[in-house]
C-alpha cells in the first residue's frame, strides 16, 4: 500500500506528462507482483469492488463525524475520498501494519453489502491520512491524478520495452492484476493469444476538420451517423460488442451480439431502427435520443428489444477469418467489408454508404443539410491509410454540422470537482417562459461546465460570488443578470427535465456581458429546435 500511496502522491505533484510517465515506469519496475498489477489496474480504471461504493464511505463517516460538518467539508474540498481521509479519526491504538494492495483486493473484493463498511473501516484504521486517501481512491475508482489509461499502458510498454499497440491489444483479454501480461512483457512468456478470445482492438479516431478543404480523390467521404461507435468481434464461438472506451456492452444489446456468427471484427455505428436520421437517403435510423433509452442498462426487456431494435451500420472491417486486416489500406478493407455484407443478417447489419459529391461545394451543401437529416456530419478517410489506434494527423477527419446557439441566463452555479474544486464552474442556465415584462419566468434548460478559458472562468467565479442571492448547500443562486451564448449539438424532448427539453453537448460559446438578461431567448425558441 505504501508504494501505491507514494505513487499517487508523486503523480499528483508532478505536472509534466513525462514526469508522470517516469514515475509509473519506476513503480512498475520496482514494486513486486501482484501489487504493481493492482496499481496498474487502478490507473486504468480496472478496479471495481461491487460492494464498495461512495455510499459506503458516506455511511462510515456518518457514524464517526457530525453529518453537517461532513457535508460542509465534503462540499468545500469537492472530493469524498480526501474529505474522509482527513476526517477519519486515528484509532487510539495502531490497528496493525498497513496492508498490501493484494490484501486490500482480497478484503474488499470478497466483501458483501453487509460487511463492506466494517471491512473498509478495518483497513482505514491501519493507515495514516495519506494512506487512507490512497486506499479510498483505490477502492472507489477515479484517481484524478491526470493519468489516462493510455498513459499507464504507455508506461507499461516503456518499463519493459514492448510495443504499446500490442499492450493495448492484449490488454482486453486480461484482467487485473494482469499476470499473463507481466509474464509476457517481463519474462518473454508467449503473448496472450488473440485468436481464442474475442479481443477488443483500439479504435481509430478522427481529427476535427478546421477550415481546410480536402482532396476528394485522396479522401473518401461518408456520413457521420448519430449513434455510438462500436466494435463487434466474433472469435472462437463468442461475440462481444465493445464501446469506444473498450467497455463490453454485449449484455445490453443481445439482439446484436446474437446476430454475428462469422469470425470478424467490424467497426460501425450502433443505431436504433426509426425514420429520423437521413429519411431522404434511406437512413432508417432513429435519433440518438431513442438509442439512449437502451444505453447504460445491464439487461434489456423483451419489450424494449421489440420496440427499439438495434442494428450496426458498418464502417470498417478490421479482421476476418482470423486474419488481421488493419495494416491494409482503407480501400482494400472497404472492399473486403462490402464482400462480407451479403453474409450478415441484413436486419442487424447494413453498410454505411459512401457519399459521392462532384465538388467540395456540393459536399458542403450536403453537410449544411445534415441537421435536417439528423445526421452528425461527414467523415473523411484517407483511401490509402491503415487502421491505426488513436487520432493520427492526416488520416481521418470529422466535419460536424454547425452547432445550434441560444442566449440563456445564468441561474445557478456550483463548485466544480477536481482541479476546479474551489471555483464556481458548473453553470445552470435558463430561458424565459414568456416575455419577462409580461410575467415570463426563467426555467432551467441546461448545464455547462466548459467552453470558457481560464481567465473567463476566474471572471465567472467572481461574478457568482458577487451576485449570489441564495445558497442551497453547494449551490449558489445568482441574481440572473448574466447572459451566456450557449452552443449545443442538438436538443431533444425530455420528460425528466422541468423545462421539457434536454440539450446535447451544451457549452458556453460566449459570455454576453453586453446583453441585458431580459433579451435572452424564450423557451419556445429552444422547443422549435427539437429534432426528434
Amino acid at each position: 500500500m505504501h508504494h501505491f500511496t507514494a505513487l499517487l502522491d508523486t503523480l499528483l505533484l508532478t505536472r509534466s506528462r513525462h514526469g508522470k510517465l517516469a514515475a509509473i515506469v519506476r513503480h512498475l519496475r520496482t514494486v513486486p507482483d501482484p501489487d504493481r498489477g493492482w496499481a496498474l489496474a487502478a490507473l486504468t480504471g480496472g478496479i471495481d469492488f461491487p460492494a464498495i461504493k461512495a455510499g459506503v464511505v458516506r455511511t462510515l463517516m456518518a457514524q464517526r463525524v457530525d453529518p453537517v460538518l461532513w457535508t460542509l467539508s465534503r462540499d468545500y474540498l469537492g472530493d469524498t475520498a480526501e474529505t474522509a481521509s482527513l476526517l477519519w479519526p486515528d484509532p487510539p491504538e495502531p490497528a496493525g501494519l498497513p496492508p498490501l494492495l493484494a490484501e486490500v483486493v482480497e478484503t474488499l473484493g470478497t466483501a458483501t453489502r453487509a460487511n463492506a463498511a466494517a471491512r473498509l473501516a478495518g483497513l482505514l484504521d491501519r493507515l495514516d491520512s495519506d494512506g487512507r486517501y490512497a486506499l479510498l481512491k483505490f477502492a472507489t475508482g477515479a484517481l484524478r491524478v491526470g493519468v489516462s489509461a493510455r498513459l499507464a499502458k504507455l508506461a507499461f510498454a516503456d518499463a519493459f520495452g514492448v510495443p504499446v499497440d500490442l499492450v493495448e491489444e492484449y490488454w482486453h483479454g486480461q484482467s487485473p492484476p494482469y499476470a499473463a501480461l507481466f509474464a509476457w512483457a517481463v519474462e518473454g512468456a508467449p503473448a496472450p493469444s488473440a485468436a481464442l478470445v474475442p479481443l477488443y482492438r483500439p479504435f481509430m479516431l478522427a481529427h476535427p476538420l478546421e477550415d481546410d478543404q480536402l482532396d476528394l480523390e485522396t479522401y473518401a467521404a461518408e456520413w457521420k451517423w448519430d449513434g455510438i461507435r462500436v466494435q463487434i468481434v466474433h472469435a472462437a464461438g463468442q461475440t462481444r460488442l465493445f464501446s469506444r472506451g473498450g467497455d463490453d456492452i454485449s449484455a445490453a444489446f443481445p439482439d446484436i451480439a446474437g446476430a454475428l456468427a462469422h469470425p470478424a471484427v467490424i467497426d460501425g455505428e450502433l443505431l436504433v431502427r426509426g425514420d429520423t436520421q437521413g429519411p431522404a437517403i434511406g437512413g432508417g435510423a432513429a435519433s440518438f435520443n431513442a438509442l439512449q433509452q437502451r444505453l447504460g442498462r445491464k439487461t434489456v426487456s423483451a419489450r424494449m428489444l421489440a420496440e427499439s431494435p438495434a442494428f450496426v451500420r458498418c464502417y470498417d472491417l478490421l479482421g476476418a477469418e482470423g486474419e488481421d486486416l488493419r495494416p491494409l489500406p482503407w480501400q482494400d478493407r472497404r472492399a473486403r467489408l462490402e464482400a462480407l455484407m451479403p453474409r450478415l443478417d441484413p436486419a442487424r447489419f447494413d453498410l454505411s454508404p459512401l457519399i459521392v459529391a462532384e465538388s467540395w461545394d456540393a459536399l458542403a451543401q450536403l453537410r449544411a443539410e445534415a441537421r435536417d437529416a439528423a445526421i452528425e456530419g461527414i467523415m473523411f478517410k484517407h483511401r490509402q491509410s491503415a487502421y491505426v489506434a488513436g487520432r493520427r494527423a492526416g488520416l481521418w477527419y470529422k466535419w460536424k454540422r454547425d452547432a445550434l446557439r441560444i442566449d440563456c441566463v445564468l441561474m445557478y452555479a456550483q463548485r466544480g470537482s477536481g482541479k476546479r474544486s474551489s471555483l464556481y464552474s458548473d453553470f445552470t442556465f435558463g430561458c424565459w417562459t414568456a416575455d419577462p415584462d409580461a410575467g415570463g419566468e426563467l426555467v432551467p434548460v441546461g448545464k455547462a461546465y466548459f467552453g470558457f478559458t481560464d481567465d473567463e472562468l476566474a471572471m465567472l467565479d467572481r461574478h457568482v460570488r458577487q451576485h449570489t442571492v441564495a445558497k442551497f448547500g453547494p449551490v449558489r443562486e445568482t441574481d440572473k443578470s448574466l447572459v451566456f451564448e450557449v452552443a449545443f449539438d442538438s436538443v431533444h424532448a425530455s420528460r425528466r427535465h422541468k423545462s421539457g427539453v434536454a440539450m446535447r453537448f451544451p457549452r458556453i460559446a460566449r459570455i454576453r456581458t453586453d446583453k441585458p438578461a431580459h433579451e435572452a431567448d424564450r423557451l419556445a425558441t429552444l422547443m422549435a429546435m427539437i429534432a426528434d
Binding site: L12, V68, T83, L86, K419
Partner: protein
Amino acid sequence: MIADFAWIRPEPAGLYVRPADLWIDPARAVPRALITHGHADHARAGHGETAATPETLAIMRERYGQIGEARPMRYGDRVSVGNGVHATFLPAGHVLGSAQILLEHAGERVIVTGDYKRRADPTCAPFAVTGCDLLITEATFGLPVFRHPPIAQEIARLLAARAAEPDRAILVGAYALGKAQRVIAELRAAGFADPIWLHGAMERMCRLYQDHGVALGDLRPVAGASRGDLAGAIVICPPSALGDRWSRRLPDPVLAMASGWMRVRQRVQQRGVELPLVISDHADWDELTTTIAEIAPAETWITHGREEALLRWCELHQRKARALALVGYEDEAE
C-alpha cells in the same frame, strides 16, 4: 442580565464600535480605526486616527508611507478610546505586532481576535488567552479537515527536498509579511545556516523584522546572484512569483509553497506546486475550537472564513454563536 452587546455592531465594512465612533479593521477609509495587524486586507490606507501596536504601525508606514494620526498601543496597556470604551491590545500570535483587541464598555468585555494562531512562532509574541463575554473570532480554517501538522515536520521535508535535489533551487512561495519570516526563522532554528535568498518583494519586510529584533541570519537578494550561487539554495518569493517569468532565472527550481491551503490536494494541483508545505499563521480547526472552549464566552461571533462549520460546532457544544458577513478579508492569500 442577558448581555446584548448593542454597542458593537457588524457592518459590511467591518466592526463598528458605536459609543466611541470607531471601526476595527475597516475595509474602507474611516476617521478612527483600530487595526489588529499589518496584512493589507486588515490594515488599509487612508484612515484618520489609527490605533495599533508599534510594530503594526511600522508595517503600515513601510507600506503606505505616512499614516494619519498614529496611536501606538502596547500589548497589555488598557487605554481609553472615548466615551467609556476601553481598549487593550493583546498578542494574537499571527504575525509580528498582531493583536487581539479587548474592548470594555458598560460592564461587558468583548474580544476581537483578528487573525490568530496558537502555535509557537519565533517571530511574534504568543496568543494570550483572556476571558471575555463576547468572542469575535476568525474562521479562515474553520473546517475539521484543516489540522496543521507541526511546523518542524514541514521544515524537515523542505530540508530533505533540498538534500535530494542538490543541483536545483528550492523556491518557496510564502506571504511576504509573516509567513516568509517565520519560515526563515524556523529554518534557522532547525540549524540551517546557509544564506537564504530573497525575491525583491521580500526584502523590506525582512529588514523590518530584523530591525525589531527578529534574527533571520544571512539573507541575500536574488537580484545580485549568479545561477551557480542558487544551485541547492533556498529562495523565498511571494506566491504569485512561483509560476512567473521571474523564476526562470533560477536553476530548475523545485516549486514549494508554504500555506495552510496546501492541506488540500486539489489546491496543490491548481497551483502546480511540487512540494506543498502545510504551514499556516492561522488557527486550525483544533485551535479555533479549543480557544472557544478555553475562553468560554457567553456568546461567539464568527467573522471571515468557513463560518458555517464553526457555527455548527458551537451548536453541537451548546454555545451561543452567530456568523457575521463581513466583506473584504482575503483568506485565499494565506
